[in-house]
Symmetry: C2
Subunit: 179 residues, 2 copies
């Protein structure tokens, strides 16, 4: 039998047909200030806003962001674009609970200090050195530069809410974590 | 000019060329017990393990999971597969700090109780009613069924660590959150 994927205790041997068409659509983070977050993710990571959805009765808005390369174009019609957005993979959803941007002492929990849980999102980049210069040019705060700490060639920066963003160059990590 | 994407305060008008090739590779969650988490994500959501990486000196392991449809096949060679994994989009990374699985009272924070931050991951599915039956067949705990609460046609379940997973059917949400 040809190589499939890795087997570890717990993994099913095959994929149940009941899961056909399931897609990992997004990961959601709450943000304090949408203007600040959109400025960061569009400027620094080149993300585009696929869709903003408002829920006035629940007093929140959702922002769905993605990298749009490979000529992907969302439909102009709003209903079609909403459906298209939910059919994608690997989107970043930002949730804004209205009013938090006006509370001076309001902040969200990044998941890396206690209590821990969520860790980070990660962008892979074609050239880590070039990306680090770009992040510095944009005054993005580093948690860890590629040559610091135990994990070489892995950088961590923070977004305006303090969430960690890992930045890696795949070709430089091919020997990582081998058994 | 043709429709591009949505403009909101903060969004740059265009994508900086310095971000070419950037990919949103993954979202990372810490898990207590890898066998339990892998059993859940492979059985219930049909995910495959692209790569496990071990860091003995730091006492943790990483598990990179993805849906593999559309005939995508990771390379068999381990180094190539690591690099291939980091070149994908929309992967789920699970981090296991060794030994937590043996601590009876150990658990991670889901981000939805205080202090809030990370919210959930989301799978889109072809048919929400069929997916709900599948989730029930697998005894997956619901936070919210599609007909409960303010957001109709949106389900939330929990994974074995208590992280929330949203489950949606894109075609049923096309009118959602319109201004």
């Amino acid at each position: 039998m040809a190589f499939d994927t890795e087997q570890e205790p717990g993994m099913t041997e095959s994929v149940a047909p009941e899961t056909r068409g399931f897609r990992l659509n997004h990961c959601m983070l709450r943000i304090k200030d949408p203007e600040r977050a959109l400025a960061f993710y569009s400027q620094v990571f080149g993300m585009r806003l696929l869709r903003r959805l408002d829920f006035p009765e629940l007093e929140f808005s959702l922002y769905f962001l993605a990298r749009l390369e490979d000529g992907k174009t969302p439909p102009e019609d709003e209903s079609q674009r909403t459906e298209w957005t939910f059919n994608q993979e690997g989107i970043l959803e930002l949730t804004h609970n209205w009013g938090t941007e006006k509370q001076a002492d309001f902040s969200y929990h990044d998941g890396n200090s206690e209590p821990q849980g969520f860790g980070h999102i990660c962008f892979s980049v074609p050239d880590l050195d070039v990306a680090v210069r770009w992040l510095d040019d944009n005054q993005v705060p580093f948690v860890k530069r590629p040559d610091e700490g135990g994990l070489k060639d892995v950088a961590f920066v923070t977004d305006p809410d303090g969430y960690w963003i890992e930045v890696i160059e795949p070709a430089r990590l091919s020997g990582m974590g081998r058994r």
